[in-house]
Symmetry: C2
Subunit: 404 residues, 2 copies
Amino acid sequence: MTVPKITKVVLQAIRRSKKPLSKGELVQITGLSLATVTEHVERLIRSQLVTDLELGQSTGGRKPRLLSFNTEAGYIAAIDLESTHVHVGILDLTCSIIISRSRLIDVSQGPKAVLEQIKELLFQLLDESKIDQNLIKGIGMGLPGPVEFSTGLPASLPIMPGWDRYPIHQFWSQYFDCPCFVDNNVYTMLLGEHTVDSISDIENFIFLKVGNGIGAGIMVKGEIYRGASEYAGNIGHNNICHDHLCYCGNRGCLEAIAGGRAIARKAEQIAREGKSTILKEVLKIKGKITIDDVKFAVREADPVMVELIRESGFQIGSVLAGLVNFFNPSLICIGGSVAEIGDVLLASIRQAVYQKSLPISTRDLVIRSSYLGDKAGIIGAAVLTAEKIIDDSLIRTKEGTYSI
Amino acid sequence: MTVPKITKVVLQAIRRSKKPLSKGELVQITGLSLATVTEHVERLIRSQLVTDLELGQSTGGRKPRLLSFNTEAGYIAAIDLESTHVHVGILDLTCSIIISRSRLIDVSQGPKAVLEQIKELLFQLLDESKIDQNLIKGIGMGLPGPVEFSTGLPASLPIMPGWDRYPIHQFWSQYFDCPCFVDNNVYTMLLGEHTVDSISDIENFIFLKVGNGIGAGIMVKGEIYRGASEYAGNIGHNNICHDHLCYCGNRGCLEAIAGGRAIARKAEQIAREGKSTILKEVLKIKGKITIDDVKFAVREADPVMVELIRESGFQIGSVLAGLVNFFNPSLICIGGSVAEIGDVLLASIRQAVYQKSLPISTRDLVIRSSYLGDKAGIIGAAVLTAEKIIDDSLIRTKEGTYSI
């Protein structure tokens, strides 16, 4: 059954709104006539996707009925997988988080083992929130690397052995009777961040993820820009002036010097050499240094670690500077697990961008940390899923038919 | 007078078509009903922008009348200014060149002197082609650097003293009663190249201009991507690994090592040192070396000059490689006066891009020379102008009213 496009336009407007809407407001937002809005709203109320129980303020005559999305019409399971951990959440169809949790995970164990662990966590959250498994209307999943979005198949990635073109949606179809969308988590973070009020009107912005890997999500005119092969934003292997060998086989890659893994490796080296008092102690106790130890040392103002992060930030900013000249964005949001280090990293990224970009390219540019932090990925995965299941009329009722 | 948008949709469809169209074909292209198409076609015929004199092939009944743009309804003056030369052309409203010519010019003489010389050349072309000055319906001009397109004002550029925010449209309004549009000529070249049959369906591509300066025009979904401050594509000052001081004050800029001016300077140095037999002779006769001398030496297979161009191409390709990872384009067209050197430059650009980009980012990428060569700029300036005057209903008749 194909659904009239106008119903979807009306539904998306109601879903995206942060507050209940009157029909008059819907007319303004959608540009449709009152008669058309009324017809489609009635259809949506019958399908139980929209409720009109609340009453608005009277402007003289009858109090207008206010329309809002029926948040209990269904839920989305959203997964944000990183190379060392995963965030899992259950969100309603307006993409508000009902429950979410993180756990450590190792993507190099391969898709089967990792997906099993994610599934366990997801069922635990369903259990705790008392949400019926059949009310999950879509699954959105972000991966820490390039994904061919149209097929949902991951691209080959050295850090993720066994994931190359693994059919993730097939795994989930064993447990859920709903569509599944898989995407690069830089794109889902971009979509998540775009839901923030002060950002949602910005048409062209870059979300920069600094985790173990470094990648960019690009928005043009409010939509994800994916590129010719759907792999746009893959800047972790952009060249900078150094000679380190990267796992990709090239020398001089950004990730090989400024990604989380590279930073931890250098910090461990520094700890071994006894140059950082804090990390020397940590190394003695744990036998290794992780990016979390580096974060701790920076918070404790360890000067050697602060300097290491400054250098990494400057290298990241140097690559960004070229992209700023090219793309002339309004906004760069910086997120990802390494970005949680905060101001030291952000300041050095800014310094390099403003020093190395042309002044006319940075005139209208804001560079700041992600508002949503580690929630950007699951919120974005839910946005992606909610938009797709409404646009493609994929919301299923218990009876197995489409509900609109 | 505002013009119904549908009339413009019908007119643009007729204007863009490479062959006369029947009303049935217009219905297919525009998605409008036959009644609507007929109504607006009649309006366009009355305004003399469209003619229906040709007869199509009968499919049984009455022979259909074929519609085409009335190429004599008006003309566009298109100007492509470079730092050392200018191309001027008169094109009809379908953007076919009626007459065009180039001449040497020095932009550093400032806008008044330069515009006077361009005006002289333009009037000479009007005279030779016997086109009435009043039939010029729009002027499109490309400049070799950033322009704030919405105001038509050039940005500050060290190589163009006196041009900073100079009101070029005011100069032309002394001589022509029609709108004037000024843009970065990388964008007009991009638009020009996009008219080529095999390219016009490509949604995301980069036009790279290698002249004295190096810049990129970016197309997303068939439209110029301009960025937050309208200065996107300004990659001539992207950083590469070298220590040369650039006129912008930074070190390591691409243009300072691989732009036409930088190449000519290095070639002169090489000639002075006697390392190139050909250029040593040229230097003796002319007292200096220009980029045209380098082109000549490369054509004559001077090994030192071939090596110099290879190095420059590799540096350009290294910057492009990062942009390919970021933007994942389908196509990069390379044009501009230095690009006329041809295969040696193109091959070394390709080599660097394929070596330094990620394989998944180049999977669907074609890199090739501009088809239109030094005509891309004036054709694109005409396209920009034709689209704007029709979209904004700015075509004026002799009586001073809008003709549609």
